[in-house]
């Protein structure tokens, strides 16, 4: 029993980082008032660029390239939605489609349908003191992103709730005109949040192709970006909430995969499809229960125009 739990925890921690990073990135952008449905596209771009970069440079550096790529997509989003006040959902979905088609096109033209050539995965770290402690041992043997994913949510929490920048970001997502009358720049704050969100989403994508897999595959991230949105909503647009939701979703996934191999009879009773649908159903349920926009930032999705009040 303990062993089963151990392996469940281990695979949860192995799979969670991409989801955690993407959810944090989406949350950062949305807390500043800019809708982030483009996170799937940012992840895909980050995953692709990191995998390609890792062919010619050390993998850790390639992860940085993936982050930059995510920020690049976010910059287009910022240009359209902040500079030109385009519809933020339209812009995000457009970027998703471009990333989807562009990724496929580049992959097939450069490497063929089976994905990029294999790369060196990020190395795994064994924590000597922990490896033999029951359960806690599941913390050992992961690559750097896992440990980052366990700490970054707290850093984000600190950033949002305890720093001047965080206060300003929260204010700009709730009432941008109030921020403007104090002489702060609404566009600058939103640009910062959108680019930061892009870096995080790019990191989430890069992790998929450098830590979870060892290449970029055709369908990466296969909807993980949308699941990150679900985690953000489920976590009520807070860093720790999104973190908990992402861990929960990842655990559910690990459980499903674990059951498929260890207890297939159980899946006869509860079809896999239900388990797959669970994160989304739960998110819908939470939204339906809390109603009226839930805890979304008040100015979310509203382009800021200086001369209107």
């Amino acid at each position: 029993m303990l062993e089963v739990l151990h392996s469940l925890l281990f695979s949860t921690l192995d799979a969670a980082p991409a989801l955690v990073f993407a959810a944090l990135g989406a949350m950062l952008s949305e807390r500043a008032g800019v809708v982030s449905v483009g996170v799937e596209g940012m992840m895909r771009t980050g995953a692709f660029c990191a995998a390609v970069a890792a062919l010619v440079m050390p993998t850790p550096l390639a992860v940085l390239v993936g982050m930059a790529a995510g920020a690049g997509i976010a910059a287009v989003h910022g240009f359209l939605s902040i500079r030109w006040r385009s519809d933020q959902v339209v812009s995000g979905m457009a970027l998703n489609l471009v990333a989807m088609a562009g990724g496929t096109f580049l992959l097939e033209s450069l490497y063929g349908p089976n994905g990029t050539p294999g790369i060196t995965q990020l190395s795994r770290w064994n924590l000597p003191g922990l490896s033999h402690v029951p359960l806690l041992g599941a913390l050992s043997g992961h690559s750097a992103p896992t440990y980052l994913a366990l700490t970054l949510p707290f850093v984000f929490h600190l950033l949002l709730s305890r720093t001047p920048l965080g206060l300003r970001l929260r204010a700009v997502g709730d009432k941008p005109h109030a921020v403007a009358t104090l002489g702060l720049s609404v566009p600058a704050l939103r640009w910062g949040a959108v680019l930061g969100g892009g870096l995080m989403a790019g990191l989430g994508g890069a992790v998929l192709s450098t830590a979870v897999l060892d290449r970029f595959e055709q369908h990466t991230p296969a909807g993980l970006g949308f699941m990150a949105l679900a985690a953000m909503v489920f976590g009520r647009w807070t860093p720790l909430g999104a973190f908990a939701a992402a861990l929960f979703f990842a655990f559910g996934n690990a459980l499903r995969i674990g059951l498929a191999s260890s207890a297939p009879w159980l899946l006869e009773l509860v079809p896999q499809g239900f388990l797959l649908a669970l994160p989304y159903l739960l998110t819908l349920l939470v939204l339906a229960l809390q109603g009226q926009r839930g805890h979304a930032p008040a100015a979310l999705g509203t382009p800021y125009e200086q001369e209107s009040r």
Binding site: L158, R162, T163, P164, G166, L167, R168, R170, A171, D174, K175, H177, A178, V179, A180, T181, L182, G183, L184, S185, A298, Q306, E307, R309
Partner: protein
């Protein structure tokens, strides 16, 4: 923007009031001073030296603070967080909220405000929120404080308190600029009064050397409304003391909740007969808007009963109200009365789009709609006289003409109008007033809500005064008196007749 050739001198340590009608350019001028808008031309001298504000940051740095008409507070943050936003105290890089609270509490205390720095702003009353705004400006070291229509949302008690605060600030050597269109209030508190009209400053006078009526005529110019503005209501043609037509609306003890969740109507009773204009007077936010919404089916009634055009008032929906013959000219035209992205003819059809000549069966009747629209556009002198142009391409006055034309064309038995001339130029105002008198002459009962006392006095056959959701005064035409009305608007019960 709405400013042309506006000039203003502000002396240190004085309380200067800037008055003018809605749309005269008061707020625009102040937003220019505060660096939010950028002037096309003109200079701005401070202490004799020319300055140029690129953003509010520059204005704040030079000691200018502004309290906006619509509060600029983040509702989900605390009082202290709102006040320190943009210049937050830190300790080792982190927000020092304790220090922020102490500082804010100290500032508030220094100016005599009771404020809990840890309270979330959305839990505060409107009056307290305004104090937060003032503290926000003072906390930034404002020497010049601009207040834009600060009393529009306050109760009379809160207004009095605010007057004392303003005098207190001046006594400490600060300068206060008060923007308002309430003349009496301005004269009670200001040292000097600047009058704006149509984007220009037309006069600057000492408060002690002028009167309400003198200011009023400066505000409107020597236009058609001069007579009505002097405070002595001219008896309009055809007004009579007691309308004898059938009762179109009889309401008893109406109760309703406002958008903020607080009771907005707390037992309003009124009667309207065919062929009379009934004015509803009151300070903004005393339930007038909610009353109009109840009568047009837009707001649910919590209690009370009434009969409206032969049916019960309870359970009224907009569609039902229309079917019974209620016309509605709402206050917020762009949000409620028109679909600005649709064409003029589509807007003329709005609300009557299911019946001839606008529809034939389930189909839109394009020909009938066009013909009727052309008739109305010519009859009401709407410019441009083009039924297929988007409504948003029309000026505000012409948009309002379209709305009034549409509502009167339906030949309403009860017409509910709210602030029908707000923001219109004088020519359009006269035309709208004339149309309201026409409606009355044709036998409609008209309920007119207006914040403009002069308008109420000029048009009404009877006036109800609302204060905090109750009727505090009821005046037939012969007893109409501005002062008595004013007392009722501030809460004194009087004039039940």
């Amino acid at each position: 923007m709405s400013l042309e050739d506006a000039s203003l001198d502000i002396a240190p340590g004085e309380l200067l009031a800037v008055v003018g009608e809605n749309g005269a350019g008061k707020s625009s001028l102040m937003n220019v001073l505060y660096g939010l808008y950028h002037p096309d031309a003109g200079t701005f001298l401070m202490d004799g030296k020319p300055v140029r504000f690129k953003s509010p940051r520059d204005a704040i740095a030079r000691g200018i603070g502004m309290v906006h008409q619509h509060f600029m507070l983040v509702p989900t943050l605390t009082v202290a967080e709102n006040v320190v936003l943009g210049r937050e105290p830190t300790k080792r890089g982190l927000l020092d909220l304790d220090r922020a609270c102490d500082e804010v509490a100290a500032t508030a205390k220094r100016f005599g405000f009771q404020l809990d720095p840890r309270a979330r702003v959305d839990t505060l009353t409107v009056g307290s929120q305004q104090k937060v705004e003032i503290v926000k400006a003072l906390h930034r070291g404002a020497q010049v404080l601009i207040l834009d229509e600060p009393t529009a949302v306050l109760t009379p008690q809160e207004s009095d308190e605010l007057s004392q605060v303003m005098r207190g600030l001046v006594a400490q050597g600060r300068t206060v600029v008060l923007i308002s269109h309430k003349l009496k209030e301005v004269l009670g508190v200001a040292d000097r009064v600047a009058v704006m009209r149509r984007g220009r400053t037309v006069a600057v006078v000492r408060a002690s050397e002028t009167t309400v009526s003198a200011l009023a005529s400066l505000m409107v110019g020597e236009g058609s409304r001069g007579a009505a503005m002097t405070g002595v209501p001219a008896v309009a043609a055809g007004t009579q003391d007691a309308a004898t037509g059938p009762v179109v609306l009889e309401a008893k003890d109406l109760r309703a909740t406002g958008d903020n969740g607080r009771p907005a109507l707390q037992g309003v009773s009124l009667t309207v007969r065919a062929g009379e204009i009934v004015g509803i007077a009151g300070v903004d936010g005393n339930g007038q808007r909610e009353l109009a919404e109840v009568l047009t089916g837009l707001r649910k009634l919590d209690g009370g009963e009434g009969t409206l055009l032969g049916g019960p008032l309870a359970g009224l929906t907009p569609a039902l109200a229309k079917a019974r013959g209620v016309g509605h000219v709402p206050e917020d035209r762009l949000a409620r009365a028109v679909v600005k992205a649709m064409t003029v003819e589509e807007n003329v059809a709005l609300g009557r789009h299911r019946q001839p000549p606008f529809a034939r069966g389930p189909w839109v009747d394009f020909k009938g709609r066009r013909e009727r629209t052309n008739q109305l556009l010519s009859g009401y002198d709407v410019r441009p006289n083009d039924p297929v142009v988007a409504l948003q391409a029309l000026s505000g006055g012409n948009q309002q003409k379209v709305v009034v034309a549409r509502e009167l064309d339906a030949d309403p038995k009860l017409l509910v109008v709210v602030q029908p001339t707000r923001g219109l130029d004088i020519g359009a105002v006269a035309q709208v007033h004339e149309r309201l008198r026409d409606a009355k002459a044709r036998g409609a009962g008209v309920v007119m809500v207006s914040l403009d006392l002069e308008e109420v006095l000029a048009l009404s056959d009877r006036v109800y005064v609302l204060y905090e959701g109750r009727v505090t005064g009821h005046f037939p035409r012969k007893d109409l008196d501005e002062r008595a009305l004013g007392r009722c608007m501030l809460g004194a019960e009087a004039g039940h007749g």
